[in-house]
């Protein structure tokens, strides 16, 4: 099909997301490969073996999480793209294009983004791992090693990234089916809150997934008292319950946003910013859920790692012989993982900035109206900043709570059975991670609102109102 309109357009944001997921997966595998290569030569005694197993399990847990996060962010990105393109899609429908053709075109974009992203990500991930390893050798943290950076195992995360980007774009483009040709003739509206609440199928699925996920999480805690492999049940529970949350986000986020919005005062800009969140529940959920994922991940990892360390300390006191040197090793691993996990924060940040600028673009006309009604540039800027702050604040808050819970479940299920552990791992709060998340959230608020508010305030009221 040579049709210019049907040619997949390359979407920068989705390529970036796929690339980050691939870079994360490949980088992690490479780092684990290097570390295993450094451990094996002088592997002696059971503790190296235990550490090796933990390393591999943790590695794969994180790869699955990264790909899952990438998929959610990608499907979010594509939902946003489709929403922004509703009018063009409606026009093509009017001229006789079928909804299926349109949706396939979007899915092709997803496939292309996945392929491009995973190739780029593989290179970046390998480069990053090699860089980290070189630094590690230089500072003497790890010994000289021999390891080949090309191995067939790396294909796995790459294929997974391509397939999930493709699937995610397919899922994210579901909305194409609901675009009617008639929308080409008038303005296109997103679903109102009432309509969202009346999507019983989706809401029921969200609830079922949430309950199943929670059950799996509880099961993993119980099984975790026997074997560290319980963490895999925990991953399944985490993915299920979080998918439930994402599906139900259209219902959960708006009230949360409303509550947070109250904190910003009763001035006109603040009130309008707060109302915006409720007027377009899908749009605001899309904008926040990516960030919720990022914060949840960072917090989860921080809590899990801190609990891990706490437990190692306990085990060390009980069994000083067996755990000698393990602590130093773990500190290194934690540092490496922390850098890698920062990527998911980056994915989320890209998503949020992207969403906010699109949402401002889609509202240029309305912003022009506000200007015509007498909103000053400062007020407009404050409104967009408040909106951005409301989104990040809500996402950070929710992410911290969820992350602490998931992190504790992860630590408990993986470590509950370990020698000399107290049986119940008490959640430890990684204050440093929390601090970084809060500061980064504030910075993100400013960055995300900067470009859109610049754009919105530069448009003259007349020009904005003339936009179709």
């Amino acid at each position: 099909m040579s049709a210019a309109t049907l040619r997949p357009a390359i979407n920068g944001a989705s390529v970036l997301v796929a690339g980050l997921s691939a870079a994360f997966g490949v980088g992690l595998l490479q780092v684990i490969g290097v570390l295993s290569a450094t451990i094996q030569p002088h592997s002696r005694g059971p503790q190296s073996h235990t550490v090796g197993i933990f390393l591999t399990i943790t590695g794969w847990v994180f790869i699955i999480i990264a790909i899952y996060v990438g998929a959610i962010v990608t499907s979010n990105t594509f939902a946003t793209i489709v929403a922004g393109r509703a009018r063009t899609i409606a026009l093509l429908r009017l001229l006789g294009s079928s909804a299926r053709t349109q949706r396939r075109a979007v899915a092709r974009e997803g496939l292309l983004a996945g392929v491009l992203g995973s190739i780029g990500g593989a290179l970046v991930g390998t480069g990053a791992a090699a860089g980290i390893a070189t630094i590690g050798v230089t500072v003497g943290f790890i010994p000289q090693y021999s390891y080949s950076y090309v191995s067939p195992g790396l294909i796995l995360p790459l294929v997974a990234v391509v397939v999930t980007s493709w699937l995610a774009s397919w899922i994210g483009s579901r909305r194409v089916l609901s675009v009617t040709p008639l929308q080409a003739l008038g303005g296109s509206e997103e679903l109102s809150r009432e309509e969202v609440a009346h999507r019983p199928g989706r809401n029921r699925t969200a609830l079922v997934l949430g309950i199943l996920g929670l059950a799996a999480l509880l099961l993993s805690i119980a099984v975790g008292l026997v074997t560290p492999l319980a963490v895999l049940i925990g991953v399944v529970g985490g993915v299920l319950s979080f998918t439930g949350l994402v599906l139900g986000a259209d219902l959960i986020m708006p009230p949360t946003l409303r509550g947070v919005g109250r904190l910003f005062g009763r001035s006109a800009p603040a009130r309008l910013a707060s109302e915006n969140a409720l007027r377009h529940p899908q749009r605001s959920s899309r904008a926040t859920i990516g960030l919720v994922i990022g914060v949840t991940l960072i917090t989860m990892f921080g809590v899990a790692a801190a609990s891990f360390m706490q437990m190692i300390h306990a085990a060390q006191t009980a069994n000083p012989e067996e755990y000698r040197g393990v602590e130093q090793f773990l500190t290194g691993i934690t540092a490496v993982f922390s850098v890698l996990i920062g990527f998911s924060g980056l994915i989320a940040a890209v998503g949020l900035v992207n969403n906010l600028s699109l949402s401002v673009l889609q509202r240029i006309r309305e912003l022009g109206l506000l200007r015509a009604l007498g909103f000053s540039v400062t007020q407009l800027r404050r409104m967009i900043l408040t909106e951005s702050a409301q989104l990040t604040f809500t996402a950070v808050l929710l992410g911290l709570v969820l992350g602490a819970f998931y992190g504790w479940v992860g630590a408990q299920s993986m470590l509950g059975s370990i020698n000399g552990s107290p049986g119940i791992v008490f959640p430890a709060v990684p204050w440093l991670s929390v601090g970084i998340v809060v500061v980064a959230g504030a910075a993100l608020t400013a960055i995300a609102s900067w470009a859109p508010s610049r754009r919105a305030t530069r448009v003259s009221p007349v020009a904005a109102l003339a936009v179709e």
């Binding site: 093509l92 009617t180 003739l185």
Partner: protein
């Protein structure tokens, strides 16, 4: 109503009617907030004619067009394009209908901004998954020359004036030689001189090429270019006039206002 009898009458009259609606009613809202956009409208659009559907805002003229084009469904009543009943079509059939049998011209031009002029013209063929045949190429060439677009084929819509964009939209609507072209306030976004040029083009498409056109408008000058003017008020057909000048149409509109 007896199904076969209705179909038979449809084929009987289909020779000179390109589209028709029977006892069409369209209501919006719930029982308590009900608004009737159309009340028992029956109307036929004659083949090869340029028909204007006139009426003040809220008269139901756009709703009528949407239903005739298969974009909206009536609350009750039936609509045919040729001898095919639109109401019984599923989404895939309606898609094909829009692709092959009708054309659209809008107030807001509605060109695809990322495609150049030629890309926009060929869009209906591309959506059909084919290249134009050589006869169709001749026709497209003729359209491009007749509409004065031949030297701008590589321009994007934003590089064209409103009048030029609307000519591209008209060329796109005529390119597939559809049975019926729907025009929705085609001059609404144009200055009066450019608007008159566009109306001349629509009229000559009808007289020269025998193209059937149904135009929805509230502008008496635009309606004066049509072979026939159908007046709608409060969701009902109130008058059906042959070609009239703008003054006659205006005074009729004013008398309707007075009566209401």
């Amino acid at each position: 109503m007896d199904e076969t009898a209705a179909t038979n009458t449809a084929t009987d009259t289909a020779t000179d009617l390109v589209a028709r609606v029977e006892n069409l009613t369209k209501s919006y809202g719930t029982e308590r907030t009900k608004v009737d956009a159309l009340r028992d409208v029956s109307l036929g659009i004659r083949r090869g004619e340029f028909t204007a559907i006139m009426g003040p805002s809220g008269s139901g003229k756009s709703t009528l067009m949407h239903i005739m084009a298969g974009l909206d469904s009536p609350t009750s009543g039936r609509a045919w394009l040729g001898d095919a009943e639109i109401g019984s079509m599923d989404d895939a059939e309606l898609t094909l209908l829009r692709r092959r049998r009708v054309g659209f011209v809008f107030q807001s031009f509605n060109l695809v901004p990322t495609l150049d002029l030629e890309g926009n013209l060929l869009l209906p063929f591309e959506l059909d998954g084919r290249r134009p045949t050589s006869r169709e190429w001749d026709w497209i060439d003729e359209l491009e020359h007749a509409l004065g677009l031949a030297d701008r084929l590589k321009h994007r819509p934003h590089e064209l004036s409103g009048g030029q964009q609307q000519r591209v939209a008209i060329a796109r609507a005529l390119a597939t030689r559809p049975e019926l072209v729907f025009a929705d306030e085609p001059t609404g976004n144009l200055d009066s001189r450019t608007g008159r040029e566009v109306l001349e083009l629509l009229r000559s498409a009808s007289t020269k090429y025998g193209q059937s056109i149904a135009m929805v408008t509230h502008d008496p000058i635009a309606a004066s270019y049509a072979d026939r003017v159908v007046f709608l008020a409060d969701g009902r057909v109130v008058e059906d006039k042959p070609r009239s000048d703008a003054a006659t149409i205006s005074s009729f509109m004013l008398s309707m206002e007075g009566a209401a």
